[in-house]
Amino acid sequence: MSGGYVAQQLINGLILGSMYALVAIGFSMIYGIIRLINFAHGDVVMIGAFVTLGLAQVVGVPFPLVAVAALATGAAMGIIIERGAFRPMRGAPQVTGFIASLAVSIMLQNLGILILTGQPRNFAFPDYLQKVIRVGAVSFRVIDLCIMLSALVLMCGLIFLVQKTRLGMAMRATAENLDVARLMGININRTIMATFALGSCLAGISGLMWGGKFGQIDPLLGFVPGLKSFVAAVIGGVGSIPGAILGGYILGLSEVLFVGLLPPIYSAYRDAFVFSTLILILLLMPNGLLGKRMEERA
């Protein structure tokens, strides 16, 4: 096993990790603010991917604009899901919201099958993005580089927004204590909506990245990134944005290394590995790596 091979695997892990991280951020933000595990989040990834595909290959919109459109679609989907399903249920037990999000997820997947058929579609990027770059023994495509860099830019932007702006302050206050935040004059509904919009726009753009990375999309594609990113969010500590980013990279790297470095018979156990890690982390350190301690409910 040469150093080059390991370096290549590390790069692959980082690419996968950036995508997990982007989706995990949304999970974490939404959980942080209304204590809801939103399983429909993965399907926003799917919708982002299909909107990009439609705009880029059917309408012929130039590429950078498509990326903006993917962000906007994600945000719009987030707002629609929140208004349609979760706002009417606010105040219900946590599990109610969780079941509802599963229902929304199944609905979106099957609407996708209904409208677009279950047939996988090819997802091709313009040639200048497909070009392969070689650095020593490591090779990657321009699109992979774009994925990693734009993920970093988006994460920095998000952290800035949450830490330095009025909206971000409102979000943090609401996450800390919804009722007190309301008493302080924060418009709770608008803040929650903004959280959904922000989290989901990152999911929308990672749909674009997912398509670019794997070259094929279908209406059920959101399921796997949704689940894995949730695991990533738990590893980092649900509710914490830096935690979600860290968790995403850890999961991406360890998944790729698990498959790449161990003998091939183990690679079929990849998902079992991911979910055993999840259960272990839930049991041993329920607050994750960077999560704040949640008080035990009496």
Binding site: M89, L102, V104, I106, G112, F230, A268, I279, L283
Partner: protein, 329 residues
């Protein structure tokens, strides 16, 4: 008066059921009979998940995992020894020689599922609420991956096919009765009361001397037992078993039945089990004729969201219809 009427209710239900089974088996065609069998299996699944999910409030998505365990164990045990050597040449010799009748195989399947539930439950049941849901979902996926990879026992993703067609209404109906009876007895015993207490308020229950951990794990294991049996019945009804059948979608469907019926209500799960299985069967030809696959799932999900918004307690809440309950006086 009330008490006597209730004592008669259960035998009346059994007699009615037996008459129904007799009539159905002589008048209806195989297709409709198989749907009725499915309805029965879904009733077992919903009522048993209701013990775990409804009584004790353990939100488990792992039910299909236990079904898969029970189903595979039953299938391997009943599989004719002659065909075993052909389909599964790598199976350990002691297993390959075994060929048991259906009933002990079902029991062993259920017990295996139950034992797994004990082992999984000890660590996992420390989690609460949706963390538990996620962990049991992880369990479901791990079971699937293991089944896919244990090719010498399960033939991996291909699954086992050509299983003997043992399951018919004479098998399903008694199991429905047993499931209903056991869960009814649990609900109206002191054990069931402590389960409901754990669901409502853990701390208060603990203060009253309820052993939280034991209550949780027992309700988890009982639910798993019936799920395992249902898995065995299922496998020998469709005569095949593949890891793909025991998906998260199935878990979701069973949860929908429990929630729509009202978590904690046995009659609710029973009725919701019937309604939803019938609905899916109605939707299937509709989807095919309209060429709109997925319509059924979309509508199911919509119904669920609407019920969660407007009637979060489900159809029955935790109650049972008045004419079935013991009169207190």
């Amino acid at each position: 008066m009330g008490r006597q009427r209730n004592k008669l209710m259960f035998p009346a239900f059994i007699v009615l059921g037996v008459v129904f089974v007799l009539v159905a088996r002589h008048t209806l065609n195989d297709y409709i009979l198989s749907i009725i069998n499915f309805v029965g299996i879904y009733i077992i699944l919903a009522v048993s998940l209701n013990i775990t999910n409804g009584f004790t409030g353990l939100f488990s998505l792992g039910h299909p995992g236990f079904m898969a365990i029970g189903g595979y164990v039953t299938a391997i045990l009943t599989f004719p020894a002659g065909r075993k050597s052909m389909l599964l040449p790598d199976m350990p010799a002691w297993l390959a020689g075994i060929e048991t009748p259906f009933f002990p195989a079902l029991l062993i399947g259920g017990v295996c599922a139950s034992i797994t539930a004990l082992f999984v439950g000890v660590p996992v049941l420390r989690l609460r609420g949706h963390y538990l849901a996620v962990a049991t979902m992880g369990f479901l996926i791990i079971v699937q991956v293991l089944i896919i990879n244990m090719e010498s026992l399960t033939r991996g993703p291909l699954g086992l096919n050509g299983l003997p067609l043992f399951t018919n209404l004479w098998w399903v109906f008694p199991w429905v009765v047993v499931t209903l009876y056991v869960s009814w007895k649990i609900k109206f015993s002191s054990y069931g009361r402590s389960m409901l207490a754990v669901r409502e308020n853990e701390m208060a229950a603990q203060c009253l001397g309820v052993n939280l951990f034991r209550t949780r794990i027992v309700s988890f294991a009982i639910g798993a037992f019936f799920a395992g049996v249902a898995g065995g019945l299922w496998a020998h009804l469709v005569s095949a078993i593949t890891p793909g059948s025991f998906s998260l979608i199935l878990a979701f469907n069973i949860v929908v039945m429990v929630v729509v019926g009202g978590s904690g209500s046995i009659s609710g799960s029973f009725i919701a089990g019937i309604l939803f299985t019938m609905l899916t069967e109605v939707f299937r030809p509709l989807e095919e004729s309209l060429d709109m696959y997925g319509l059924g799932e979309v509508l199911m999900a919509l119904v669920l969201i609407v019920i969660l918004i407007f009637r979060p307690g489900g159809l029955f809440g935790s109650r049972e219809p008045g004419f079935l309950i013991h009169n207190e006086k």
